[in-house]
Symmetry: C2
Subunit: 465 residues, 2 copies
Amino acid sequence: MHYCVFLLLVPAVASPVYSLSFPNKVSPKVVDEISSYKGVANEIINLAVYGAAQNQSYNRLAKFTDTIGNRIAGSQNFERAVDYMLKELSDDGLDNVHSEPANVTHWVRGNESATMLAPRRYNIAMLGLGGSIATPPEGITAEVLVVHSFDELHNRSKEAKGKIVVFYEDYEGYGVSVAYRDFGAKETAMVGGVASLIRSVGPFSIHSPHTGWQDYDPKVKKVPTACITIEDAQMMARMAARGTKIVVNIKMEAKTLPPVQSRNTVAEIIGSKHPEQVVLVSGHLDSWDVGQGAMDDGGGAFISWEALSLVKQLGLRPKRTLRLVLWTGEEEGGLGGQAYFNAHKGNMSNFNIVMESDAGTFTPLGIQFTGSDAAYAIMEHIVQLLAPVNATQLSKGAEGTDIELWLRAGVPGGSLADDIDTYFWYHHSDGDTMTVQDPHQMNLCAAAWAVVSYILADMEDMLPR
Amino acid sequence: MHYCVFLLLVPAVASPVYSLSFPNKVSPKVVDEISSYKGVANEIINLAVYGAAQNQSYNRLAKFTDTIGNRIAGSQNFERAVDYMLKELSDDGLDNVHSEPANVTHWVRGNESATMLAPRRYNIAMLGLGGSIATPPEGITAEVLVVHSFDELHNRSKEAKGKIVVFYEDYEGYGVSVAYRDFGAKETAMVGGVASLIRSVGPFSIHSPHTGWQDYDPKVKKVPTACITIEDAQMMARMAARGTKIVVNIKMEAKTLPPVQSRNTVAEIIGSKHPEQVVLVSGHLDSWDVGQGAMDDGGGAFISWEALSLVKQLGLRPKRTLRLVLWTGEEEGGLGGQAYFNAHKGNMSNFNIVMESDAGTFTPLGIQFTGSDAAYAIMEHIVQLLAPVNATQLSKGAEGTDIELWLRAGVPGGSLADDIDTYFWYHHSDGDTMTVQDPHQMNLCAAAWAVVSYILADMEDMLPR
């Protein structure tokens, strides 16, 4: 999951005012229609959780990530991943398996290191942040200024000139604290700092740096920027509090190569009655260049495939087209999603809902939904059919970098809500491996994802906007 | 904490049979005597937890580990640590601050790597195991055989010849599963394997290998041996189960240099009435050559120092000598402890109790005790005075590599029982840093450790053997 402060500040689509006077009203006919799906919902759930498809999404994901490994957009390995998936989706008997072009940034990490030279020599665990520039070959050697916030940096701006700024921010939730990853380099450069290191954005660590995209401001000088572990940031904060002079050398070969034409990966179950109408389920196929990308977003991608697989394995064909999209370039800011939106926005009225799972596939809780109050009321009835997997919570505000443009344009959106207690322990780090994934949890997520997307693809009417 | 299977199999000293007919009998006089310490116990606890010494052991440990870093026995850094402590203990006003010689093994890791070459190229996170030999400079390249147990290795011994054996054992508790670290190389060599990699011995990982000592059998060929992460062991087990051929290159420069004369570090509060009698409190100053060695065993060493500091700061002087020993070479099998035992065993009758804290300084629970039933009964009364820190549990079986020889010789022993739920998440890995330590938990541990050791040093009579 890429998350930038910008996207978080975009409000969910405002509900039309008129709907406020008719809250939660769903016609008896629609209520009955939804109830009529109880049997098929249970069939999907039984297949995924107890039947022939048990552990299918986990096993497919394990084979995929073990075979391919991580796959940053722009890399040859990502394109190998696309080829792998095109073959798998075809072998699975899905319709209209193809890729669609999307230009992506091509950032390459290269060799990198951060070495504490004073008060003692120590190899600091680090990962350059996505988009960072390189240092000179000999690295940047400078004294460290440790600050706990942007406010402290501004108050101590005179001390920052020529220094490496270490941000040891409190973790106040990912959506808040990620600002230090996004803007740490820019803020450092604005006060004359020569490089920045941020405490990794997460609540817990076993000596793991967590990378992620960062955005330079085109009006501000670029300085190299990387993340370090919570432990090392804490150590340097203690040293600084004791008045100890800290000197660090940072070497980074990072570079941004020319953009690459990459691919979104698409497969469908073509609708029987309204093939032009679409329910889109998705996850992103790209990952960071560390770990296996099993959680972010292998899990989301593979339960989305599973939604189609389960429907197919039951011999079902919904009235509308059920479309899987596996995005490229999500981690660089939703580049695959942008290309897809631009290519398909002319057909916007035919998109019933766009769904993305990109916040883990741990124990599912329910669905996060963005849309009109009338649509929300219908969704409230649909999620009741997830009772057998205990995922009946409906909440407002779908999340997903790749579906964001559709939501802003007023298309209903859904995302999977799951138990993310430990998600940010592993996110964007070498800890994002298959060990984090649980076959049973993936079964439950896939079942919930399939039930909701199938019903929305098969109901008589599209969701009211 | 070093832990080898051998030590775990040594039973606690058997209670004399006669004591079974007089269980838990403590004379009213001794009960009264112990009760009379309630005031001083509360003074110690108040000083450590709420008073001027609050967070003292944490802050001292943070400064020490931030300044020195990790400190494997045999290294110059370990000797710097001893010099640092000798100065600190003198500055603290303790008596008879000195070091005592102890020869230690001098194992040096050097550069090392493990690279998966097939089915895809991947850098495996690894740490050589203590005592391992090197590979040839070009490394050892071989196909991998993954086994889940020694039994499986024996059953598949014909497949092992010329292979790198990967042990992906279940974690059945440290004391059981550490057998794979201890004997993995020996068992591998016995079936013709060329190197061994073990799943790190712990219940949880974020991509952290956990090193530790291993023992070659002098009658069996030595092969290089290292640990890998749970995640990578699991991945290779999945690949092997799919029938995928795995090829790995291991390069290790590890070497064992000639033994080094190292030092145990000693400080005392000399007893007022029986200065020749000793209550010994201890932790080991050496660590593995990863992380900060803050938990293993910085915490145990520094609460042991704190026990003397608290007594000193209150102006107390017990009847017997309260002696602090900070061991060298614990991780290589208790080498400092052995040297100390050999040097002092002639005075064994004067050792009232030997105590070691080497299993974390998390929330304290009480004391683990080895000794006669009569002594155990007295300890049951003493630990009641730890009620203000909620650490009144007494259990049988003191643990500590460095005190083991005394226990086997019949000297009473004590160790700190604490909440070790997460101890093996960090043990012997880069995750063993000050971030793991909690100031308040260390206050509680130091208070409990000081109360018990002070009372045992000050009571009228020594513990009955």
